[in-house]
């Protein structure tokens, strides 16, 4: 898909927990413009346009195999669209 993607902010809220530490680090590494806000029990991630989650990056930081399906356990809320979700990556962005 090559249509012009907007730069409106997308966001993901994740549970702040021991298991998600590696996940959050991985997302930070793959999304250099990401802003991260820590609230009690919750981590709010935000970026312009899109946020990418890559399985390989997560696995490297987690130290064990990780399936993109596991992301469902971590997520609390999101603003945007899940425009891709396959074995290797998840992308959240607005469609138009």
């Amino acid at each position: 898909m090559t249509e012009q993607t907007t730069l409106r902010p997308v966001g993901i809220d994740l549970q702040e927990s021991e298991e998600n530490r590696a996940l959050i680090d991985a997302i930070k590494a793959d999304n250099p413009e990401l802003t991260v806000r820590h609230m009690p029990g919750l981590v709010k991630l935000q970026a312009a346009g899109q946020i990418v989650i890559k399985r390989e990056t997560v696995e490297a930081r987690l130290g064990r195999p990780w399936e993109t399906g596991e992301f469902q356990l971590a997520i609390v809320s999101y603003a945007g669209n899940f425009s891709e979700w396959d074995d290797d990556q998840i992308i959240v962005r607005w469609k138009h």
Binding site: T6, R8, P40, L42, G69, S77, G80, F82, W94
Partner: protein, 514 residues
């Protein structure tokens, strides 16, 4: 493959199917074209609303949750949640709430919200049967069972509070009978009695996507700020289910808009109707978050600006503009009244809580200072004087409760106490004629909703009309309260209530000598 051909027994390495294809084989591919019965008999409800779908295969599933993964993740979530509930109960954690009065917000929650979770559970099962596409049917089935989870975890979370505090004990019966709860009950009855596509747009989209943060974050954050760990944990735990629900809602709306241009005006009409219908219901949340939390989180105004104006009007609707969808009709009225809504609603609850299964109080000086700071344009000018009047009556030992029954809006069923957009001193009051009778609504939004489907709204079981018709236990207030199932201590003023008195007792400093 015929019975005579056999593929060779092979030890070649197994191929691995890509996720999307594997998921499709485990869900969509199970479906088949019937030939012994007519498709129209199998799916009789998908054309009467005028919605056109050319290709159900166009439905996308971003959350590819197979049954085994569902059970694995969900059982893990519940294990963690119930561990928190058990530990809170065991340690008598309710003693660490900010104040017993906080629980009035949770009484409103179990009476008003839990039954809606259950209703969603039942009616997503309807979609799981009657939508023609196997992919959305499976998504609906997962949502149906998720909503049962929410209803039951809420019942269990609140079970502990029910043991020690009033107002929780008869939530299901009260949802069927009590006046303010017809606001929530009628909203979901409205959605369930509509066709499958309207239900999908009204609940999956308008409720679960457009307004979800506005409806749930105040309760869950309120829990967090006021020491209510079980409710907060429930909130976190349910939220990951909600991501799937939000996705279903967004996918539903886009799918229908993309299928046929003829769908666009129908869906626009539903977006317009359901924004206002759900927004009016959220007025109860506004009153709760501004007035019922000993430690407030944020004002209704701030929540509305963040969760609706910024995220939805600023984020989602520009996305939908691509399809020709415009922001909801009457949204400007909602924006215009954000400085008024919570005050007008709480006044109703405060004045009528003698007939409610929760207690209310006039705000303290500190609380009024907070309200003043949150609402610099309206609070001191329009609402403080009335609260101060209540304070002086109470200082003299009295307590004002409204003597009589209010007129209800025929659509949202809230007492007609909202004010005109440009004049906070004038009650907003509309009427419509249908079959020779006059019906009353509270706003342009509700009037518009009534006028497009009057034959529906005239059916409503309006609590005040029903009391006057003698259908609610008897002619006196005590008769009606008994029929509601309200028990001593559930209702009225918080100060001096059993909840308040026992709280004071439990938190007395230790007596000397031991």
């Amino acid at each position: 493959m015929s019975l005579t051909e056999r593929p060779p027994a092979t030890s070649a390495p197994a191929k691995k199917l890509p996720v999307k294809q594997r998921y499709s084989l485990l869900t969509r591919d199970l479906d088949w074209e019937p030939s012994y019965v007519n498709r129209a008999d199998l799916y009789p409800y998908t054309s009467y609303e005028g919605i056109v779908v050319h290709d159900w295969d166009g439905w996308e599933d971003p959350f590819r949750l197979t049954v085994d993964a569902y059970h694995k993740y969900q059982s893990e979530k519940d294990k963690r949640l119930y561990a928190v509930l058990d530990s809170f109960a065991q340690s008598q954690g309710h003693l660490t709430l900010s104040d017993a009065s906080y629980l009035n917000s949770i009484k409103l929650f179990i009476q008003g919200v839990t039954p809606l979770e259950y209703a969603a559970h039942r009616h997503f099962a309807y979609l799981a049967r009657y939508l023609e596409g196997p992919a959305p049917r499976f998504a609906a089935l997962c949502q149906s069972i998720d909503e049962l989870r929410h209803a039951q975890t809420q019942i269990h979370t609140i079970s502990n509070y029910n043991k020690y505090y009033g107002g929780f004990h008869s939530w299901s019966k009260m949802h069927d009978r009590v006046w303010y709860l017809s606001v929530t009950k009628s909203l979901f009855d409205d959605a369930m009695s509509a066709g499958p596509f309207e239900f999908l747009v009204s609940i999956s989209f308008s409720f679960e996507y457009l307004l979800t943060n506005l409806l749930f974050v105040p309760f869950m954050s309120g829990a967090s700020f006021n020491g209510d760990m079980p409710t907060m944990s429930f909130g976190f735990s349910a939220q990951s289910d909600e991501s799937r629900h939000m996705t279903l809602g967004l996918e539903a709306i886009k799918f229908l808009l993309e299928q046929d241009e003829a769908n666009v005006p129908i869906i626009q009409g539903w977006i317009d109707k359901w924004f206002w219908r759900s927004y009016r219901m959220s007025a109860l949340v506004a009153g709760m978050m501004d007035y019922m939390l000993p430690k407030p989180v944020m004002s209704w105004k701030e929540a509305f600006e963040l969760y609706f104006e910024d995220q939805m009007l600023g984020g989602l609707f520009p996305d939908l503009a691509y399809y020709g969808i415009t922001p909801p009709r009457h949204v400007q009225d909602a924006i215009a009244e954000k400085d008024k809504l919570s005050h007008e609603v709480y006044k109703i609850l405060h004045n009528f809580s003698f007939a409610a299964a929760f207690t209310t109080s006039t705000p303290s000086d500190d609380h009024m200072a907070w309200l003043s700071a949150q609402y610099p344009d309206t609070f001191d000018r329009y609402y403080r004087p009335t609260w101060e009047k209540h304070r002086s009556v109470e200082a003299g030992g009295g307590r004002v409760f409204f003597q009589g029954l209010p007129q209800l809006c025929q659509v949202c069923q809230i007492p007609i106490a909202f004010t005109e957009r440009d004049d906070p001193t004038r009650i907003s009051f509309r009427h419509s004629e249908f079959r020779g009778e006059t019906f009353h609504t509270c706003s342009d939004g509700c009037q518009w909703i009534f006028d497009r489907e009057p034959e529906k709204y005239v059916q409503a079981w309006l609590p005040v009309h029903q009391i006057y018709q003698g259908n609610c236990g008897g002619p006196t207030v005590p008769d009606v309260l008994a029929w509601y199932g309200i028990q001593e201590g559930d209702n009225g003023e918080y100060a001096g209530s059993p909840d308040q008195q026992q709280w004071a007792e439990w938190h007395q400093p230790a007596k000397g000598g031991n």
